[in-house]
Amino acid sequence: MAQQGAYYVPHHSVWPIVGSVGLFTTMFGAAHWLNDAGSFGRPMFFIGLAIVIFTLFGWFNSVIRESIKGSYNSQVDVSFRMGMMWFIFSEVMFFGAFFGALFYTRMFSVPWLGGEGHGLFTHHYLWDQYAAAWPTNGPGDVGGSFSTVSPWGLPLLNTLILLTSSVTITIAHHALRAGRRKQLLVFQALTVLLGATFLYFQAHEYMEAYEHLNLTLQSGVYGSTFFMLTGFHGLHVTLGTIMLIVIWFRCAKGHFNKENHFGFEAVAWYWHFVDVVWLCLFLFVYIM
């Protein structure tokens, strides 16, 4: 509910239109690049990306300045919180689409290809030798035979790393609320370090998969779901780690105080979200 007194409405900003131009340049460039590797699409894509990054710097810069100036009242704070919560919800639904694809494939399409069910002719006419199994690259053996990553090596280690990072960021948050500056900086730095370690191991696992296991993005539907799910998760960890680094610098510069540190909390929420996605990945992609 609105508080008593005046509302706050921010003044004009050039960043939304610059950001729109940037996103357009990126996407339009990417579409041309995909269709013709030698076209203007490639430079256009990178120019667009640069504009988007420039926008993020500029937009956050002005928001941080206004926040430090004390322009934002508690109502604005609640709007920001709602914005972040619903953004994370939209991300959950995005991952939901890929998890849904994984479950559908395992529950329905692969068994059907193996001849389960009534009145299904694909198995009968096209691939009557195919027996349903998981992992699989399908009756066409798309991408050639491959082996999978054991969950009990690097993935387990990565699970522990991310779980620990959730603990360290919570300790950092408590330190911030208690005004223990040194502890805040140390534990925030630890969180960044754990995030970076996770990414290092994940990259290592990918190289292992490509070089030794013949497990690639092209390895049938197993490769597709494995790399798209872990890949999008890795992308989110990368973004989350960059956000954590930015927040570390903002802590070091003293942008936050005990009561007013929504930027920190938003990134912490995001980090927990990325953590929960990983737990689902570990369970459904690696173990089961």
Binding site: M1, A2, Q4, G5, A6, Y7, V9, P10, H11, H12, V14, W15, P16, I17, G19, S20, V21, L23, F24, M27, F28, A30, A31, N35, W59, Q75, V78, S79, F80, M82, G83, W86, F89, S90, M93, F94, F95, A97, F98, G100, A101, T105, F108, S109, V110, W112, L113, N137, G138, P139, G140, V142, L217, G220, V221, Y222, G223, S224, T225, M228
Partner: protein, 539 residues
């Protein structure tokens, strides 16, 4: 109430900025951004409409006369994409932008800068999409539903379609987050959730649907992208995938999307009918619960779009019964509108005419929907003109009519001038007659077996197609009157609108001057329950 409504707060932006670029490109003002959305939607309505005119011209007679078959497929695909993502959705967001802050007593949207970005992404998204007409191989032609394997066996254009979906999806999600934050966080004190105008309620629920399903569509098209360009096998049976998987993911988005395009329409009609019946809305709370029920059910009915692909029997039965269940909350709404009019002192200004037409014609679309929900019957109707007739009754005489009703209803508040009632009525009567000439015969065509998305057809279908095309041309031309009425009202009309505009209007938006000043409710207004459109629901 709301005596302090227009009293401005002390800051540096009392009035609209003088510089054109600052005002329209860097805006943080919900009214200016709402206007941009509405103008954009009108432009897209005509671009999509001109494609429809070409389609109807080609179908005027059997045989191929005007366009190549492949280009015809591009037209049907692009017509749908432009109308859904360019006309209907942005028009509702524009109406929401303009009216939600005015209706809940907020000074602006909760996140005004993001609001500007939500809008500006749209013209760029449509530049990406429409530019594909000029590619070698032309625009996407596999239908707006993008079913693989067909969609990824075409030319380069699918990448443009996919990135269009991403950019417009980002726009929709940001817009929806903004609307939810505005409604939940910016209401004036005393504007409790169950006192909000129904239009605000329907938008709250619509925004939830948008945030829930736009990312799912983004996921679906991303899988298409990687299947085409990066060698994944999501929709490739040889690799263990399944083309039907795409249909499931797509329609998990697609069915809530249908309600995204109709729930705000329900809200608009629920505002207009009480005003011109001079009675509070009948069954306010039932309307709210019915809207929420429809939204909930929209998540568990998606496979009724896929009855003919070979689903297991249990799935067909479940989705059939779940779909028929939607008739219950929708029926609640229709009966509540009728009951609101019952024994009211009715007058039939243009918004009311469109609203009454909505109730009747949308219900026809609802009935054909129930017919389509029956699995055995749907096997006959699938991919025929019966389906085309069904969703055009819901989207044209439903969603588009509600938008026109809303424009006539609120235009005096936006512009400060009264539109020409005579020309408004001419627009209405020509529209309502021609739209039925256009779409009603398509039911018969479909039942007789004419497939959709074809440029040529059996001579047996010739008569009804010609009638339908004539209706189409008249309906298309009639919309030029609509533009004329709007331009005349905004720039040339002599008759000034009063603050209350309509005799029976109630609600906060009518307490501010006409035209609404650049900034309203800088200080929260005081809510008087008896002045709310739906009456005092506490008793």
């Amino acid at each position: 109430m709301a005596h302090a409504a227009t009293q401005d707060h002390h800051d540096d932006h009392h009035e609209a900025p003088k510089s054109f670029f600052r005002r329209w490109f860097m805006s943080t003002n919900h009214k200016d951004i709402g206007t941009l959305y509405l103008i954009f939607a009108l432009l897209m309505f005509f671009i999509g409409g001109s494609m429809a005119m070409l389609i109807r011209a080609e179908l005027f007679e059997p045989g191929l006369q005007l366009v190549q078959p492949y280009f015809f497929n591009e037209l049907t695909t692009m017509h749908a994409l432009v109308m859904i993502f360019g006309a209907i959705m942005p028009a509702f967001v524009g109406l929401g932008n303009w009216m939600i802050p005015l209706m809940v007593g907020a000074p602006d949207m909760a996140l005004p800068r993001m609001n500007n970005m939500s809008f500006w992404l749209l013209p760029f998204a449509f530049t990406i999409l429409l530019s594909s007409f000029f590619l070698p191989g032309g625009a996407p032609a596999g239908g707006w539903t993008m079913y693989p394997p067909l969609s990824i066996q075409g030319g380069d254009s699918i990448a443009f379609l996919i990135f269009f979906v991403h950019v417009s999806g980002i726009s929709s999600i940001m817009g929806a987050i903004n609307i939810i934050a505005t409604i939940l966080n910016m209401r004036a004190p005393g504007m409790d959730l169950l006192k909000m105008p129904i239009f605000v309620w329907t938008w709250l629920i619509t925004a939830f649907l948008l945030i829930a399903v736009m990312p799912v569509l983004a996921g679906a098209v991303t899988m298409l992208l990687t299947d085409k360009y990066f060698g994944t096998s999501f929709f490739n049976a040889a690799g263990g995938g399944d083309p039907v998987l795409f249909q499931h993911v797509f329609w998990f988005f697609g069915h809530p999307e249908v309600y995204i395009m109709i729930l705000p329409a329900f809200g608009i009609i629920s505002e207009i009918i009480p005003t011109f019946s001079r009675k509070p809305l009948f069954g306010y709370k039932a309307m709210v619960y019915a809207t929420a029920s429809i939204a909930f059910l929209s998540f568990i009915v998606w496979a009724h779009h896929m009855f003919a692909v070979g689903l297991p029997l249990g799935a067909e039965l479940f989705f059939m019964y779940a779909t028929m269940l939607i008739a219950v909350p929708t029926g609640v709404k229709v009966f509540n509108w009728v009951t609101t009019m019952w024994k009211g002192s009715l007058t039939f200004e243009t918004p009311m005419l469109f609203a009454v037409a909505f109730v009747i014609l949308f219900t026809i679309g609802g009935f054909s929907g129930i017919m389509l929900a029956l699995v055995p019957a749907d096997f006959q109707y699938q991919d025929t003109y019966f389906v085309v007739a069904h969703f055009h009754y819901v989207l044209v005489t439903g969603a588009a009519f509600s938008i026109m009703a809303a424009v006539y209803y609120w235009l005096p508040k936006w512009s400060g001038n009264m539109y020409s009632e005579r020309w408004g009525k001419i627009h209405f009567w020509l529209s309502v007659i021609s739209v039925n000439v256009l779409f009603f015969p398509q039911h018969f065509l479909g039942l007789a077996g004419m497939p959709r998305r074809v440029p040529d057809y059996n001579v047996a279908f010739a008569d009804f197609n010609m009638i339908s095309s004539i209706g189409g041309f008249v309906f298309g031309a009639t919309q030029l009157i609509f533009v004329g009425v709007i331009i005349h009202c905004v720039f040339f009309a002599k008759k000034k609108a009063t603050d209350r505009v309509w005799e029976g209007s109630k609600g906060l938006e009518w307490t501010v001057p006409s035209p609404a000043p650049h900034h309203t409710f800088s200080v929260p207004p005081v809510i008087d329950d008896s002045q709310l459109a739906h009456g005092d629901v506490g008793h």
